[in-house]
Amino acid sequence: MRNYEIMYIVNPNATDEEVDKINGQIEHIITSGSGKIEKIEKMGKRRLAYEVDKQREGHYVLFVISANGDIVKECERRLRTIDAVIKYITVRTDEEVRRFEKIRNYRQKRAARRGSSAGSAPNQSSEEAMQ
């Protein structure tokens, strides 16, 4: 299981119900394939940075899921076939999160070491002055 973010843009002319219907379809693919949905975020209507399919706006939808590659593949296939979806992107996030945690742990450890040595080491203030 890996963590992914699937983001797609739905045609601005689509109604809210149509958007919800597409969301339901994607949700169904994920849940029926033993994937887990962590978050569905409707980011609303936004201006696109450039023209896509002659549209300048679009409904953005974001799915945060943890699933296998097969499910993601199926989602992408489905998104490609739905005409109202004008663009989509899938991003794998677990590697980035792991990296972030590593950095944070390192930082905490360093902060702890600093904190403990402040009492015992008398020459700490001079060290700081050097820097």
């Binding site: 940075a49 450039y50 991003v91 999160v97 990296r99 972030f100």
Partner: protein, 84 residues
């Protein structure tokens, strides 16, 4: 230490260039998210090109992450490839 280094002989024109620092290191932003348009757009000037490191002062590690994030954001039309 620094003040001694910056002192120049008399007669030479003096100007101090402020040392550039990496915004992400200073503010401790570890993950550069492609959805954060507000942050990313600080590094794409008018022509929508990615700002070089020598101008923005971003460190190499963060520049790489920033690059990836901007390119992802371009892919999903959050940022432009070029301005028309």
């Amino acid at each position: 230490m620094r003040s001694a280094k910056e002192k120049r002989p008399a007669g030479q024109k003096q100007y101090y260039r402020r040392k550039k620092v990496c915004k992400f290191c200073v503010e401790r932003i570890d993950v550069i998210n492609y959805k954060d348009v507000k942050l990313l757009s600080q590094f794409v000037p008018e022509r929508a090109k990615i700002m070089p490191r020598r101008i923005s002062g971003v460190c190499s590690q963060h520049q790489r992450l920033l690059n990836h994030a901007i390119k992802k954001a371009r892919n999903i039309a959050l940022l432009p490839f070029a301005t028309e």
